[in-house]
């Protein structure tokens, strides 16, 4: 039996159609995935992402612990700032990708993918053994993502004018603990926005308040197309324990400097760099009609398979199909996606495809 978040009945009331995601019954859309997608690009949308894991890291050695545990370096961020990082296995494979917030009062808050919570906890607990730290899971907190260019204007409805003003002043990837929840200027859509961790009573009040004030509830369907347009990887689809961050277009999130920071997975990544990274995660789009989907092959002019689509969808902001693909070996100039045994020409595009409402891919496609 799938779990639900504390907002299940409110989703039902808002007309949600549900899907089982990582063992949670989550809204996939509330009527139209495309309209929700466009609402986030042009206005504001509200996602319930309470299925994600929140883990607090405290103790005198919280910083040295996370500097060893994570591929990105929490030593680079001041309190009140957030960092995107991979958690790696010893082979350099991605156990999870996460956002870690350095808390103003010391310690850290880590937000984890729903499907990886248990694995992450086990990996982090193992890595934490030599350190004086405590890891506290926070199932008492829910998580909302208020996203879109109008997100700032939606803040006062729940936070009131004074607090909304302080939150509007947050820079991207900054965070603030408030009496109405923990708020980070972060997201997974390529738009401006906020992610808010709240206890259940406030979570319900925040969700209802924003929906009543006209913010559009948005489901996991649009969350997926928004993140794909934004060129953001989805764990389990674009990378997993068998792929390294260097093969997943996430090399920029690995802090190799300082050279003496011996983070988990470092030796494997250094060996990979020495020997040459064999695979790459790249962006593609279809120049004609059709829809890219995960697991479709990409072939070169001779029909040789050069890669596989890892994420693919129709892109509502663009009107054609885009995807991410893992390429083995050199990237040929021209390639085709094999869809139902027929070849469809694709073009390469370094992601993102859309960012902050701007289309970054040439409009060569179209149906």
């Amino acid at each position: 039996m799938a779990e639900t978040t504390p907002l299940y009945d409110l989703h039902q009331k808002a007309g949600a159609r549900f899907v089982d995601f990582a063992g949670y019954l989550m809204p996939v859309h509330y009527g139209s995935q495309i309209e929700e997608h466009l609402a986030v690009r042009r206005g504001a949308g509200l996602f319930d992402v309470s299925h994600m894991g929140i883990l607090d890291v405290a103790g005198p050695e919280a910083t040295p612990f996370l500097r060893q545990a994570l591929a990105n370096d929490v030593g680079r961020i001041a309190p009140g700032r957030a960092l995107y990082s991979c958690l790696l296995n010893d082979r350099g494979g991605v156990v999870d990708d996460l956002v870690v917030y350095a808390l103003a009062g010391g310690g850290y808050r880590v937000v984890l993918n729903a499907a990886r919570k248990a694995v992450d906890h086990e990996r982090l607990a193992t890595l934490a053994q030599p350190y004086q730290v405590t890891l506290t899971s926070r199932p008492d907190l829910g998580l909302l993502a208020l996203q879109g260019p109008e997100a700032v204007r939606a803040l006062p409805a729940f936070f009131g004018d004074a607090l909304a003003g302080r939150l509007a002043a947050l820079r991207t990837f900054a965070a603030l603990e408030t009496e109405l929840g923990f708020v980070g200027r972060t997201g997974y859509t390529g738009e401006d926005g906020f992610e808010i961790a709240l206890p259940v009573d406030l979570l319900r009040r925040a969700f209802s308040t924003w929906i009543e004030s006209g913010v559009r509830p948005a489901g996991l369907g649009s969350r997926d197309t928004l993140r794909l347009e934004a060129g953001l990887n989805l764990y389990g689809q674009d990378m997993d324990e068998s792929t390294s961050p260097l093969e997943s277009n996430l090399g920029w999130t690995v802090a190799f400097e300082p050279a003496d920071r011996d983070f988990a997975g470092r030796a494997a990544l250094e060996a990979e760099r020495r020997e040459g990274v064999g695979r790459a995660l790249v962006g593609v789009y279809l120049t004609g009609a059709g829809v890219l989907r995960a697991h479709q092959d990409l072939v070169d002019a001779d029909g040789r398979v050069v890669g596989t689509v890892t994420s693919g969808s129709y892109a509502p902001s663009l009107g054609f199909s885009i995807g991410l693909a893992r390429i083995t070996g050199p990237q040929p100039e021209t390639a085709w996606a094999v869809i139902r045994d027929r070849r469809h020409p694709v073009r390469w595009h370094h992601p993102p495809f859309v960012r902050r409402g701007h289309v970054l891919v040439p409009a060569a496609a179209g149906r």
Binding site: V28, Q33, G221, A289, G290, V291, R293, Y314, R367
Partner: protein, 131 residues
């Protein structure tokens, strides 16, 4: 089901509908329930005109934002036409599944039976049972 499934159509358990036209021709589409379950449709591809179809063959593929679905014909015959408007406006299937959103026309073999298909009442019972 609040939405009416027209009484003059026949239905399949896989959520296609069939309308009998003149001269052994049928028109085929997907039901309101199907389009609603699939969500926003963004692509539709009908099989080539002239293609020979056996009962249960795929005659079209429709894709929503999330997934691709095969559409099957419950009758054998020859594919006579695909809906020409689908290439530019696949969302017409969402808006008008029993009208403008039709998918293909098939010339059935002489004497091919349409029995075994469901009438509107039987189809609605099927939906009520949660299929």
């Amino acid at each position: 089901m609040s939405h009416d499934n027209p009484n003059d159509l026949l239905y399949t358990a896989s959520h296609e509908w069939v309308r009998r036209e003149a001269n052994g021709v049928i028109t085929l589409g997907v039901t309101h329930h199907a389009q609603e379950a699939l969500g926003d449709l963004v692509y539709a591809e009908t099989y080539p005109v002239g293609k020979r179809l056996e009962v249960g063959d795929t005659c079209a593929v429709i894709e929503s934002v999330k997934a691709a679905s095969d559409v099957y014909t419950p009758v054998g015959g020859t594919l006579l036409a695909g809906n020409p408007t689908l290439a530019q406006t696949p969302e017409i299937i969402n808006r008008d599944p029993y009208g403008e959103g039709w998918l293909v026309r098939i010339r059935t073999e002489s004497g091919s039976a349409l029995d075994g298909l469901l009438d509107a009442a039987a189809y609605e019972r099927l939906l009520a049972e949660g299929h």
